[in-house]
């Protein structure tokens, strides 16, 4: 990492830290109305599934055009979901997901991402 990129990292920190700290450091957060606290309880599932869904369903090309993607990654993520829901074992789910994708790509059933 060059000196230039350290400066870039510092700038990236400068726009990331406020998002992380604002609500944690703001006074009066404990006096929020009940409906707001209920809303915040639901943020986790929504954001995490949003991250997962966008990661496997949306592909952005080099010229920044997003397209809908259907592939073996769906199966892998679903299998991981099922294992975690049934067995409560995330590590096993991750191993299964990686195995499915690796095998599918190795035997030519799925394309290798660029």
């Amino acid at each position: 990492m060059t000196t230039d990129l350290v400066l870039l990292a510092v700038l990236m920190f400068a726009v990331t830290y406020p998002s992380r700290a604002l609500a944690l450091l703001a006074p009066g957060i404990d006096r929020l109305p009940k409906v707001v606290l209920d809303y915040l309880q639901l943020v986790g599932p929504a954001v995490l599934t949003a991250l997962a869904a966008v990661s496997v369903m949306v592909v952005v090309s080099d010229d920044d055009v997003a397209s809908f993607h259907i592939g073996i990654e769906w199966v892998a993520v679903f299998v991981c979901l099922a294992i975690v829901a049934r067995k409560g074992n995330l590590l096993l789910g991750l191993v299964a997901a990686v195995g499915i994708v690796a095998i599918a790509r190795a035997i030519g059933l799925a394309a290798i991402p660029a």
Binding site: I29, D38, Q41, A50
Partner: protein, 196 residues
């Protein structure tokens, strides 16, 4: 970058942007959008940490990631109270230290792996996110928030950008969840409020 920024998705994106020659202001803006979801995590965790000293919360904020949030908030809900050590374990021992060690390993050894995509490593992130989400889904409200959040995120990502899609999914999903009547016997219902 792994120590200073400590935000995996933004780091992956930044490496690609730098390699493609995108000007820095564009990289900074995209980093801000990509990491804006942390505001939601921060707000969700704030009631649990309200009694902790300001300086400690300031440090906690730097190590707040998707993984730290999901692991710690499901832990707090299970306990029905805040467990500060639990947060440090989730954020530092389980996430920050391994992430930085893996970064060093990647720099040292990455070139010897001819094609990492062939190994299916790229599926770990979405699979981990969905697995962590499962731990937070304790009732119909959470389930609806998760499904709507994912749907909105994908739809918006297709017409704008993935970063905006993720943030909007995270904002709209919980609104949909609130429309579902709260079952009084819903699992985890009593454990979702922070206890003093």
């Amino acid at each position: 970058m792994s120590v200073i920024v400590f935000a995996g998705a933004a780091q992956f994106a930044a490496v690609g942007y730098v390699a493609s020659g995108l000007p820095w202001p564009g990289i900074i803006l995209l980093t801000f959008l990509l990491n804006a979801r942390h505001l939601l995590y921060s707000a969700a965790l704030a009631p649990w940490f309200r009694d902790l000293p300001f300086a400690r919360r300031a440090v906690m904020a730097h190590v707040l990631t998707d993984e730290a949030f999901a692991l710690s908030i499901s832990h707090f809900r299970r306990l029905g109270r805040t467990d500060e050590w639990g947060y440090w374990v989730a954020a530092v021992a389980v996430t920050f230290i391994p992430w930085n060690l893996a970064t060093i390993a990647g720099v040292a050894l990455g070139a010897q792996i001819p094609d990492p995509a062939r190994l299916g490593i790229d599926i770990i992130f979405p699979a981990a996110m969905i697995g962590l989400a499962v731990g937070l889904i304790t009732g119909r409200r959470e389930l609806v928030a998760a499904i709507v959040g994912a749907g909105v995120a994908v739809a918006v990502a297709l017409v704008s950008s993935p970063s905006i899609g993720i943030v909007l999914g995270g904002l709209v999903g919980p609104l949909a969840g609130l429309l579902v009547p709260k079952a009084t016997t819903e699992a985890g219902d009593l454990a979702t409020e922070p206890q003093p």
